[in-house]
Symmetry: C2
Subunit: 432 residues, 2 copies
């Protein structure tokens, strides 16, 4: 494992394979007799690793990068060895209480209200689904959900599953929810929930929570705050501004597996209204009744089975400490500043959105096709993996930085790969 | 990790702590500076392990036991080190294709229809939720779901989230869905799905699928088969009878983390109608569009983020091979046979349900209170952990066997603990 992490920077980030290529190399029939684990490791090395896009690579800059830190990886092995199911307090007393404790630490580290109840779901999709299920339950028949047009697709997915009507609110020039339009929509009287995003997926824009919160209170709408990525930045005092107004939220998510160096998956869901969350999910059949009066975490989300994810979060938070987390968040933001400077200094490019944290949206001056071709060329080089979005109806390249192992040298190498891709495509001249 | 597994049999199965006891021993504030991982391991040893109920213990006989086998544990560490998110083919080519491959192996090992599409969800709760979401989508406005009164609570939980009307069908004396009553309910014309259970949670009874399937076809209802536990038994030809009629199912789940020696979580969801599943969940925002025409697994379930669970399933299936899986399933069933014999031979006890697989339902002849007291006494001894259910309105003790490390000696030790608990409670005389 340590060896793999060491040579990871030398591997191509994006898998250099075609669909079906991995499958074709592996036996389609299960073995009759058992094989040693070394056979698995051999195939892993020979077939699987070259067929993977390496999320833990320091030059993975697509979507939102993640980090599986060493303490997180070791803790995952311990979680598997213990194989605890933290569904009931009785089925996992220390698992349940460690989850309370670790979420309490997150509350303190991010400066969240200290009376919020927190627990872990797998992903932001599930956390948002859970929060909106509670909002529907508490909504007295109101069935509309509002979010900005820049909100994450998981909001739409949850609404589809819950059969809630999703209406999107336009954004301002900086991609933040327009509060005047939110206020209008709220007056229709059918809104059970508003989802505000702190750190949208495309540009990491921050919806104006201090204005949104009071409007939600006034209209009795559940305020769900999706801070899956940017919430972690609040570990640093200089980024606390992004959470201003959070005390009026009814629910709040931050993904420790995004920018808190914890392996997938670990989404922290907080709520000021745990009873409403419980009302949406609690269902205790006879075979799960226990004599204790204790916290049974299965009552707060859709899944019954719950891995002991708290162990890895706790291990990671201890290994880094507040200082270590701050240092790493600051490094991501500093490196993003370098990228922003490179883009600004180069008149072949334009910046396409403000950069509040560590994600840069930029494009080549030129056609969408040229930008798409450039991105594909960079990615297929294997040097770095970036992704794209669409802003103001234009194709935009996204460069997101959050992996704890990313260094200045990785930025330099990636910029070099961009230069080279432009040269190869000879798109620089056409568009300059 | 190896050392822990070795001394696991010596640890109490059920945690010997009171609510709050673990929390009270740990600092409630996060550390400012980082700590070495050894500090985590120390607290794990001193505070966490004694506060855990040990699911991987060979005398964990509650709910459904699970096994984190060695290859599964090592694979979990690799999964964390790779930290791949198998949401899109592009984001994880080998992860996506390994998932296809491993699910294909499960199809072959269990004798499921070879044209079914399979993918992995975290738990049976999510798999059933996904299947019923697809059934609702395909149901043309019909909103009722039918299952037996012995079906798992996850069916009710999914129906609550999906706002489907759940109607339960009574069971026969052997706890199997009554087909005459099912036929009656289906004639009401409002049914979008029927959930049949192969291996119910309380008694592991098997609903009569060969009769249920044709009724569902006749009435156009989606047939979802919950074989989360007992499906694995079909690795052995002598238990294939339990899957008779499965070819008419629209969706089918088996949990590899239950009786296929894979660490939590790994629920295999198969469907004969992948397009309907995709219709219920597919939603591709711009930032997730990719140039390839390839399988994107995020389109088949509620979560966007997806750990590379296929790696552990593949590693476990290779390590055991078909023979190893069969041997271990057969051992569980053989040991359950020993328990059944012990119960039958002892006139203080009665068996409360047939035993098709490896779960025994029995009770002391006597009051519910006596049985409850007995169970609490056994569990608090730390020797073994059993759970309970309610059958025909009586409190019944459940002894489920599925851990690959359970031996004859574990059965003997547990029976001894039962004898001793009876002696201590002196309930044997009152009820004999």
């Amino acid at each position: 494992m340590a060896g793999f992490l060491e040579r990871l920077p030398e591997l191509p980030v994006l898998a250099q394979v075609e669909p079906g290529e991995v499958l074709a190399q592996l036996p389609s029939e299960p073995p009759e007799q058992g094989e040693p684990f070394s056979a698995v490791l051999e195939d892993l090395e020979r077939i699987i690793l070259p067929g993977l896009t390496h999320w833990n690579h320091p030059r993975f800059f697509a979507y939102f990068p993640t980090t599986a830190s060493e303490p997180g990886i070791l803790a995952e092995m311990l979680i598997a060895a213990l194989n605890v199911n933290a569904m009931l307090w009785r089925s996992s007393p220390a698992g349940t209480e460690l989850e309370e404790l670790a979420l309490g630490w997150i509350r303190q580290l991010l400066g969240l209200p200290q009376d919020w109840f927190g627990h872990i779901e797998d992903t932001a999709s599930t956390s948002t689904l859970s929060a909106l299920a509670a909002a529907r339950e508490a909504g007295a028949g109101r069935r509309a959900v509002l979010c900005s047009e820049e909100a994450h697709s998981s909001v739409a997915k949850a609404c589809r599953l819950l059969e809630l009507e999703l209406r999107t609110i336009p954004v301002d020039d900086d991609f933040r929810m327009r509060v005047d339009r939110l206020a209008e929509e709220l007056t229709r009287g059918d809104v059970c929930a508003v989802v505000a995003t702190l750190g949208t997926t495309s540009t990491t824009s921050v919806d104006p929570l201090p204005e949104i919160g009071p409007l939600c209170k006034e209209h009795g709408a559940w305020l769900h705050v999706d801070a899956a990525y940017a919430g972690s930045a609040a570990v640093c005092p200089e980024f606390r501004w992004a959470l201003a107004g959070v005390e009026l939220a009814d629910s709040f998510i931050v993904n420790a597996h995004k920018w808190l160096f914890t392996p997938m998956d670990c989404s922290c869901l907080f709520t000021a209204r745990p009873d409403d969350l419980r009302a949406a999910f609690s269902l205790v059949p006879e075979y799960l009744r226990t004599p204790e009066d204790a916290l049974n975490l299965m009552e707060y989300g859709p899944a019954l089975g719950r891995r002991m994810r708290a162990l890895k979060l706790w291990a990671v938070l201890r290994w880094y400490g507040r200082e270590g987390l701050q240092n790493n968040i600051r490094t991501s933001v500093r490196l993003a500043g370098l990228v922003e400077e490179l883009v600004r200094a180069d008149d072949r490019f334009e910046l396409c959105a403000p950069r509040p944290f560590s994600t840069i949206c930029f494009r080549l001056l030129g056609t969408d096709e040229a930008n798409e071709a450039l991105l594909e060329r960079i990615n297929s080089s294997g040097t770095a993996f970036l992704s794209h979005t669409r802003l103001k109806d234009r194709y935009v390249i996204r460069w997101a930085i959050a992996n704890a192992r990313t260094t200045d040298e990785d930025i330099r190498l990636t910029w070099q790969a961009i230069e080279q891709a432009i040269a190869e495509l000879a798109v620089g001249d056409q568009s300059g």
